[in-house]
């Protein structure tokens, strides 16, 4: 009677799932019961057998699983060092490209590059000057240069008279006195005195 009641407890005691008091009671019974000792030995063997029963871990198990996980987007992909470097270099690189494009295409560029003298109405040196202050296209200048639109007027320059512009056009004669010796050239007094003033 006692043996039948103890069988389940013997099983649990093998698994370490009984109290100290119950363990002591089982040990006392086993000392005097050969049948239960045999049962206890077989129960232990069965339990050990389960622990020793193992499947095989295939060498490609990890690769197959991770491939399936990556296909389902369940596993963050490992980044290579190159990609990582490019990623971090992209921000300053993009900033440098943006700055270069800005400098090349900015409307402020003309003011910085073109000399103030070229912003004046384009007049060929020594060439006849029209009333608008522009040299005619046939003044010996390249066609492209002669036909380009007038430069942006310098503030205050639009108040100059055609006579003032003529003087400005011949200022280089003063810078180069030898030009006065050239036959058929303009008279020095005509250069220095506008026609209106000469008459007065």
């Amino acid at each position: 009677m006692e043996c039948r009641n103890l069988k389940e407890s013997i099983s649990a005691s093998i698994d370490g799932e009984v109290s100290r008091a119950e363990t002591r009671r089982i040990e006392e019974h086993l000392e005097g019961c050969a049948e239960c000792r045999d049962l206890e030995r077989k129960m232990r063997a069965i339990g050990t057998g389960v622990a020793m029963t193992e499947g095989i871990v295939p060498s490609d198990f990890r690769e197959r699983l991770f491939a399936r996980m990556e296909a389902e987007d369940l596993l963050p992909r490992r980044r290579s060092l190159f990609v990582f470097s490019i990623r971090w270099a992209a921000v300053p690189l993009a900033a440098a490209v943006a700055l270069a494009l800005f400098l090349l295409t900015s409307p402020e560029k003309g003011k910085d590059v073109v000399a103030p003298r070229e912003q004046l109405p384009h007049v060929a040196r020594g060439a006849p000057v029209t009333e608008s202050g522009e040299a005619p296209a046939s003044a010996g200048l390249p066609r492209v240069a002669a036909q380009r639109p007038p430069a942006v007027p310098v503030p205050g320059h639009e108040q100059l008279t055609p006579e003032d512009l003529e003087i400005i056009a011949h200022l280089d004669v003063l810078e180069d006195p030898s030009a006065l010796d050239a036959p058929g050239d303009v008279d020095e007094m005509e250069i220095l005195a506008p026609p209106g003033r000469r008459q007065g």
Binding site: S11, M43, V50
Partner: protein
């Protein structure tokens, strides 16, 4: 060293290394558990793969309060159960009674003497393991799962009860019943 729960939390935040560490710690256990439950290497591998996929898919619903290993075995047990149900429906796996011929017509395994099954004293041969696995498959699933989780994977009765969703007393009874049935099936092998 980080706990399983901490690694799971890191994986939820996008850490690949955390999942790789969890995998390294547990994939062997899951494969062995699936093999003990299904008795078939190929199906055990597939069930183990599916277990980790389910763990990854359910990572965001996992409650950090739960012990990871308990949750993992719960997923593993349900996954293997599905495989076993599929096998039963397909009818492609029928236990071979001891002494009968195998499906391919080859003779059944010749067993050793009565003292063969004494793992503490002798080497665990592949033949004995096959017989043992076959005997395991003849157990009711609930008894098999309880016994395998306790003796194979080292879970306490309380942890087994959590995995199976039953009381600790029910675990105690099922493990005892599993032992009784296995002793009967392997009586010729036991010392």
């Amino acid at each position: 060293m980080r706990t399983d729960e901490e690694l799971m939390e890191l994986y939820r935040k996008g850490s690949r290394d955390a999942f790789e560490e969890l995998f390294a710690r547990h994939h062997g256990k899951v494969i062995h558990f699936a093999y003990r439950m299904t008795g078939d290497q190929a199906r055990a591998e597939e069930a183990a793969q599916e277990t980790f996929l389910r763990i990854a898919r359910a990572a965001f619903t996992w409650q950090p309060k739960a012990k990871f290993s308990t949750w993992m075995y719960t997923v593993a047990r349900r996954t293997t159960l599905n495989f076993l149900r599929d096998e039963k429906e397909e009818g492609d796996k029928v236990p071979i009674p001891p002494g009968e011929e195998a499906w391919d017509g080859s003779p059944a395994l010749q067993l050793r003497g009565p003292n063969a099954l004494n793992p503490e004293e002798m080497a665990w041969s592949s033949e004995i393991q096959e017989r043992f696995v076959e005997a395991l498959q003849r157990l009711p699933e609930t008894c098999r799962a309880a016994f395998v989780l306790n003796r194979g994977d080292g879970l306490s009765y309380e942890e087994v009860a959590t995995v199976l969703g039953i009381t600790t007393q029910a675990v105690k009874s099922r493990i005892f019943r599993a032992r009784e049935m296995l002793m009967e099936s392997l009586s010729g092998l036991l010392p």
